[in-house]
Structures are given as structure tokens and as C-alpha cells.
């Protein structure tokens, strides 16, 4: 393995680890309440800028809430949504893909049809429409994204299952008298797991970005919850005067997603797998 790959993998893992710890403990340690408004201390710049104060290391937003605390709280929301979404979509996509790839024939035709339909639906638009029409909530965002983002799991699970199904160790398992369920569980799943793990990282990153987009457009996580996307949206009106209000949550979002992708890329190289696009 090339050395830089190793390094980038470690960097990615470090980023994800730091964000995870920050998300878990940060909001308690920052010494502020993420929701407490202070209209006398609005839009205080970060500590390194002129007018910043050590009381608010990253300044305050337009309602005077501590920006660092909201940022840390937002990490929680991003990770929460990313992981829950991928659990939902991973279960749906993997089941469909493995079933289709394993049984072939009519069942596979049906799975392929579902994948085609799913791909033809514009994700952002439909997610926006659902949230817009039903009303925004954290659960709804997770459910919607979970039901929309299973396509890559299904495609990868299906393609890899098809490759493995024709291998002789699966034939041997049939001849050993194993049941179809046992074959899928013991012979196929362990051998496609590495591919699926790579997809997991990509999809967590994608779900986090999509949640941020939805929240940015005002149809994701409902205020006053501090989602990074929402923070950027709220800061948009002030960005021409104080660019840091969008820089800080944007950079956080970018860094987290980059970290997750670096981990995924490292895994892909380590497993020596080319994820099927």
C-alpha cells in the first residue's frame, strides 16, 4: 500500500474521531447553552478577529447564541442523521441487492426495476417535497433520506452477489445441503461486506451533505436545532459583512465529509476493491 494512502486514511480517521468526540461531549464542555439567546451579544466575531472575545471562542450568531456550542451540537445532528440514514438505507439496499443477485430471474428483474425507478427520482427534489408537505422533523429527514439513498447499496450488493454466486464455493455450499438463507448469510454476506463498508462511508457522507442541503433550503432540520446547513442558511444574510458566519459551519461540514471519504478511500484501497459505480 502506498504510504500516502495510509497517511490520508489516518488523517480521515482522526477527523472522524475528533468530530465524534466533539459531538458526544462538546456541547457539555463548551460552557454555553446552544439555544440560549442573548440579543445584546449578536454576531460577535471569533476570538482571532477584531472585536472577538474569549467568552465566545467562535463568536455568536444573529441571535447571540454561542457559535462554538451550536457547531458542536450540529456535529451531533450531522452524525446522527448520517448514521441512522445509512442503517436504514443499508438494510433496504443490501437486502434487495443480495436477493436480486442471488436468485436472478424474475426476482432480479424486479430488483433492477426498483433500482431504475429509484435512480430516476430526483433525490433532493423529492426529499424537499416530502419534508415541505409533511412538515420538517429530524425523524422525517432520516426516514426520507433512508428510503431514498439505498440505490448504491443495492447496486453494489447485487453486482458482487452475482459474481460470488457463480463461484464454486457457493456451488459447494449448495451441494453440502445448505439452505439458501444459510448460503446468503455464511457464504455471500461475509464476502461482500468489505464492498458494503466502503459504500457505507460514501453514503454517510452523502446523507450528511444532503441533510445540510435540505436544512439550508429551510426544509430539513427545524430551527432552533443547530444543523450546520441551517447555520449557513441563517448566516447567509450576513455573509457579505461577516463571512465567518458561513465559513465556520461550512468548513466543519466540508472537513467532516472529507474525513469520512478519506476513511472510505482508505478502506477501498485496503480491501483492494473497485466499488462498482
Amino acid at each position: 500500500m502506498p504510504r500516502l494512502t495510509q497517511a490520508s486514511f489516518v488523517i480521515g480517521l482522526g477527523i472522524v474521531g475528533v468530530v465524534l468526540i466533539a459531538a458526544l461531549f462538546g456541547p457539555w464542555l463548551s460552557g454555553h447553552d446552544a439555544f440560549a439567546q442573548d440579543l445584546n451579544a449578536r454576531l460577535i466575531p471569533p476570538v482571532w478577529m477584531e472585536g472577538g472575545s474569549t467568552k465566545h471562542l467562535l463568536g455568536t450568531d444573529q441571535l447571540g447564541r454561542d457559535y462554538l456550542t451550536r457547531l458542536l451540537y450540529g456535529a451531533r445532528i450531522s452524525l446522527f442523521i448520517g448514521v441512522l440514514t445509512v442503517i436504514t438505507s443499508g438494510v433496504i439496499g443490501t437486502s434487495l441487492g443480495v436477493l436480486g443477485g442471488f436468485y436472478g430471474g424474475r426476482i432480479d428483474d424486479a430488483v433492477l426495476f426498483l433500482i431504475t425507478c429509484r435512480l430516476s427520482i430526483p433525490v433532493v427534489l423529492v426529499a424537499l417535497a416530502v419534508v415541505g408537505l409533511i412538515g420538517s422533523s429530524l425523524t422525517l429527514v432520516v426516514a426520507t433520506l433512508g428510503l431514498l439513498l439505498w440505490d448504491r447499496f443495492a447496486v453494489v450488493a447485487r453486482a458482487t452477489t452475482m459474481q460470488i454466486r457463480s463461484l464454486d464455493y457457493v456451488n459447494a455450499a449448495w451441494c453440502s445441503g445448505s439452505s439458501p438463507l444459510a448460503i446468503m448469510r455464511d457464504e455471500i454476506l461475509p464476502n461482500i461486506a468489505s464492498h458494503l463498508m466502503v459504500v457505507c462511508t460514501l453514503e454517510i457522507a452523502l446523507a450528511i451533505l444532503l441533510e445540510a442541503s435540505l436544512s439550508f433550503l429551510g426544509l430539513g432540520v427545524p430551527p432552533p436545532l443547530p444543523s450546520w446547513g441551517l447555520m449557513i442558511a441563517e448566516g447567509k444574510d450576513y455573509m457579505f459583512f461577516s463571512a465567518w458566519v458561513i465559513m465556520i459551519p461550512g468548513l466543519a461540514l466540508f472537513t467532516l465529509v472529507l474525513g469520512i471519504n478519506l476513511v472510505g478511500d482508505g478502506l477501498r484501497r485496503a480491501f483492494g476493491t473497485q466499488v462498482i459505480k
Binding site: N171, C175, S176, G177, S178, P190
Partner: protein
């Protein structure tokens, strides 16, 4: 001597829909066409033929991996389709060609070997442990090797694992599909010797598929020659090698290159037209390549004849 043969195959056929290019209509590909034979206990049936002759499809049907389009396989008189998968596993087991793809890379050797026992669901863990250990030793592997994963073993050792897995349920029939084709010649000899020893000791019956006639001559007691899905000739091994009757069998035998310097290269005596399972010729399927073809070979399907007690032949020529 039992009166029912251990394995009997009756009018077995298998057709596939062939996928040509995207723009070509699907064609019916007759991979195996109306094949019948019986095999007595303790014998070794060698099946030879070139790629695309249907020998692997035939093996898959006997193993129950491929549903026949028509016909039936009988094991000890019972139709294969009437057996559940556990009963089938107790009677027939496979050894496949590629020792790299026939073992699950994520399992230990012991788990791989014991899979058929575990799938039965009726064996105690200590019984599974005992039989796995015994078999590991029998095929020439150490207990320590049983704890490894396949990628830590060589090709020959993996093929020993595949053989152990096939034998752990003490089956009656083992289908060997090109078991040594992926191995080096020095390892091939080890595996062939092991298979032969095990057959004697455990009174096994083998169906042994190979494209290598010299190997088949060494292991088989009788040989079946396949061409484009048909059985064109069958006979006792010694007789077939001494007096090959079908022109295709003759060509196959002529093309065996034994390591005997000075003999030069044989003239196989075949035309240039290559067999294509998606476009079967009319009449005798071999006639486009047969230099001795008669006019009727192109129009009439050759009759099935029995020149001697053991020999079966499908050819217009005498």
C-alpha cells in the same frame, strides 16, 4: 453386485437462452442433449470433450445445481428431484476445478470441511470436530493447517481441502469436474494418487470430467466422449483407447501429446470449422469438421449403435 446401478441418467437435456449481442435475438442453446448412461458402484466414468461440449453442464445437473430441461438423474434408483437437499448431499458431492474459487476465503479450513456435516443439522459439535480432524489427516493436512484460511494454503493443499469437504458425509458418488486442471503437473500427480486411494478405501464411485485424455486414461474405468451436447461414443477405457470408433474420438486421441521426443506433431485430421453451441449443424453435429463425412451425415442424425456389449457409438460410419 447390486442390480440397480448407483448412478443412472436418463434422457437428460439442458437448454439455455443464449445472450448474443444486445441486438441479436436470443437463441436456444442446447448445452446437453438427450444423454443417458448408467454407472455401477465403484467405477470411474471419465467424461471428455472440448470446451462447450456440455460436460460441465452435465455435471451440474447430476449435482442438482442445474435443473434439467427434461430427463432425470437417478441415484441408487431414486430420482434426484425427489430427494431433499440434505439427502442429496449425503449421496453426491463435488470436487471443482479451481481450488482458488471453490473455498470460501472468509472461513477457516475446518469450517469449510465441516460445512456439509453442519448443514445436516443432526451432528453433535464433538462429532463434527472428531470427523473433521480425522479427514484432515486422511487427505494429508495437519490439524494446525485446519485453523488457517484458504489464502494461506497452496493450490494443491486447497484441492485436498475440497476433497475432504466432499468426503466428510461419506457420500456414494463424487463428481470431479477437472479437479487437476488448475494445478501444476507435479501437484496433479499427488491429487490423482490421493483420489485413487480414497476411492479404493471408501468404495466411492467417481464421475471424472477432464479435457486431458491422458489423465482420464489413468483414472477412469470407462470413458464417455461428448461433442456439442451429445454423447458420441462410450466404452471401457482400455477398449476406447485401443479402438476408438468415432472420428472425433480418434482426433482427440491423436492430439494427445505424450512426452516422447521424436514422434513429432500429429495430423489431427480435422477441418477448420469450429463448433458453436449456439448454431448447431444439421444431421451429425460433428460433420462440418469430419474429414470422413458421408452425404447423409449432413442431413440425418446418426443412429445410436452398440458395436460391442460395452460400446455405444453415434455415427453413420461403421
Amino acid at each position: 453386485m447390486s442390480t440397480t446401478p448407483i448412478l443412472s441418467v436418463s434422457h437428460l437435456s439442458c437448454q439455455f437462452k443464449s445472450q448474443g449481442g444486445l441486438f441479436q435475438p436470443t437463441r436456444l442453446l442446447r448445452a446437453v442433449d438427450d444423454i443417458s448412461f448408467t454407472l455401477e458402484e465403484g467405477r470411474v466414468l471419465g467424461i471428455v470433450g472440448e470446451s462447450g461440449c456440455g460436460k460441465t453442464t452435465l455435471a451440474r445437473m447430476i449435482l442438482g445445481l442445474q435443473k434439467p430441461s427434461s430427463g432425470e438423474v437417478f441415484v441408487q434408483g431414486a430420482p434426484l428431484s425427489s430427494l431433499d437437499r440434505r439427502a442429496r448431499a449425503r449421496l453426491i458431492q463435488p470436487v471443482f476445478q479451481d481450488p482458488f474459487s471453490s473455498l470460501n476465503p472468509k472461513q477457516t479450513i475446518k469450517d469449510i470441511i465441516s460445512l456439509p456435516l453442519r448443514a445436516q443439522g443432526t451432528f453433535e459439535p464433538h462429532e463434527i470436530e472428531r470427523r473433521t480432524a480425522a479427514l484432515l489427516e486422511r487427505v494429508g493436512l495437519s490439524l494446525e493447517q485446519g485453523l488457517r484460511v484458504p489464502s494461506e494454503l497452496s493450490g494443491g493443499q486447497r484441492q485436498r481441502v475440497a476433497i475432504a469437504r466432499a468426503l466428510i458425509l461419506e457420500p456414494r458418488i463424487v463428481i470431479c469436474d477437472e479437479p487437476t486442471s488448475a494445478l501444476d503437473v507435479s501437484v496433479q500427480a499427488q491429487i490423482l494418487n490421493l483420489l485413487d486411494e480414497l476411492r479404493r478405501d471408501l468404495k466411492l464411485t467417481y464421475v471424472f470430467i477432464s479435457h486431458n485424455l491422458a489423465v482420464v486414461e489413468h483414472v477412469a474405468s470407462e470413458v464417455m466422449v461428448m461433442y456439442l451436447g451429445r454423447m458420441v461414443e462410450r466404452n471401457q477405457t482400455a477398449d476406447l483407447f485401443k479402438t476408438p470408433r468415432h472420428p472425433y474420438t480418434q482426433a482427440l486421441l491423436a492430439s494427445v501429446l505424450t512426452p516422447e521426443p521424436g514422434l513429432g506433431l500429429p495430423d489431427v485430421g480435422l477441418g477448420d470449422i469450429m463448433p458453436d453451441p449456439a448454431h448447431l449443424p444439421t444431421g451429425c453435429r460433428f460433420h462440418p469438421r469430419c474429414l470422413k463425412a458421408l452425404p447423409q451425415c449432413a442431413t440425418q442424425e446418426p443412429p445410436l449403435r452398440k458395436p460391442t456389449d460395452h460400446a455405444v457409438l453415434e455415427c453413420h460410419l461403421t
